[in-house]
Amino acid sequence: MCTNIVEHTPLAGSGKGATGWFKVAQAHVTYDHPFHVDLEHALNIDFTNDAAGVDARVAVELTLDSAKNLAAAILAAVDRAERYESGA
């Protein structure tokens, strides 16, 4: 909200938060003030189920470089997974 950098995506899967496992329904990706990492702004990803309450949340707060590395690692794993599933 301080930077106006907010992205949202629906998700299907599970996440383990403060109260245990829950169905993850969306991710909110922001570049804004974090709560824990000692940076003015961080790349924050909140995996949430907005219908299940505010504590249905798995949070990560990342430096921009580590966020890029995470995105690349996810895409690389997804690429290998799709080839695995197709038998290629």
Binding site: M1, C2, H8, A18, L39, N44, T48, V54, R57
Partner: protein
């Protein structure tokens, strides 16, 4: 009266639910000196991370200096829970509406002014998004006798940054500012940048407003936040708190 070691002092600090904007019940953290007063008052507008420990400490700090102080939970209509979970939800939703914040701040001022121990003067203080909100509340109501905007980002806004919740840049209300303004900023901040602070200052000059700005070298965003080691700047924070209390003492009374 200057404090002496043989003076009695005490404070009451508690959660209080009061009518906010549109009469909605809102949670507040309320702290005041014990005694009959008269006390000046301050409304504290919390920052983006929410109604957190730092703001409750700051509320008690004002009470310890002789102010009846109240910090509304601007996010209480969104959800209840751990402050960071509520704050994350609000962050994802792009904040809370400016109109609602202005209404909550004015409602807090009415609450404070109606107390038997009020001296009739009410200031408003905020940091980060709360600095922006404090400025908006001061410009858009007649509730406040002084405003302290500490590194409020988004007072100057690009047209493309305006949203349904934030439809007007606060700088556009400058002509309506009815009270003195204190502004504390860091030279290394990016929200607001020194250039944006200079634009704000020009607008204040243009409309003949009473203001006092300090731009601290070696400081960025959040330099009062002792719980954020990378942001905290002890020297600038000590000087800044002195300026805040001197400013409110001059315009509201107390101490």
């Amino acid at each position: 009266m200057p404090y002496r070691t043989d003076h009695y002092e005490g404070m009451l600090a508690e959660t209080a639910v009061i009518p906010g904007a549109d009469g909605d019940p809102i949670y507040t953290y309320f702290a005041r000196p014990l005694g009959t007063g008269p006390f000046p008052s301050v409304v504290l507008i919390h920052h983006m991370p929410g109604w957190d420990t730092w703001y409750k400490e700051a509320t008690r700090k004002f009470a310890s200096r002789g102010y009846a102080a109240i910090a509304p939970d601007l996010y209480c209509r969104v959800a209840q829970g751990a402050p960071e979970d509520v704050g994350a939800k609000v962050r994802a939703e792009g904040g809370v509406p400016d109109d609602q914040v202005v209404g909550d701040a004015a409602a807090c001022a009415r609450f404070l002014r109606s107390q038997t121990y009020s001296n009739g003067k009410v200031g408003v203080f905020g940091t980060c998004s709360g600095g922006r909100h404090a400025y908006l509340a001061a410009c858009r109501s007649t509730a406040f006798d002084a405003v302290a905007d500490l590194w409020g980002g988004g007072v100057v806004m690009r047209p493309e940054d305006l949203t349904e919740k934030r439809p007007v840049a606060p700088i556009d209300y400058t002509k309506d500012l009815p009270c003195p303004l204190l502004g504390l900023f860091g030279e290394d901040d990016r929200a607001p940048t020194p250039e944006q602070v200079a634009i704000h200052e020009e607008e204040l000059k243009k409309h003949g407003k009473q203001y006092e700005f300090t731009m601290y070298p070696g400081a960025a965003h959040g330099f009062f936040y002792h719980d954020r080691p990378a942001a905290y700047r002890a020297e600038q924070a000590v000087d800044g708190w002195q300026k805040v209390f001197a400013f409110f003492r001059q315009h509201l009374g107390a101490e």
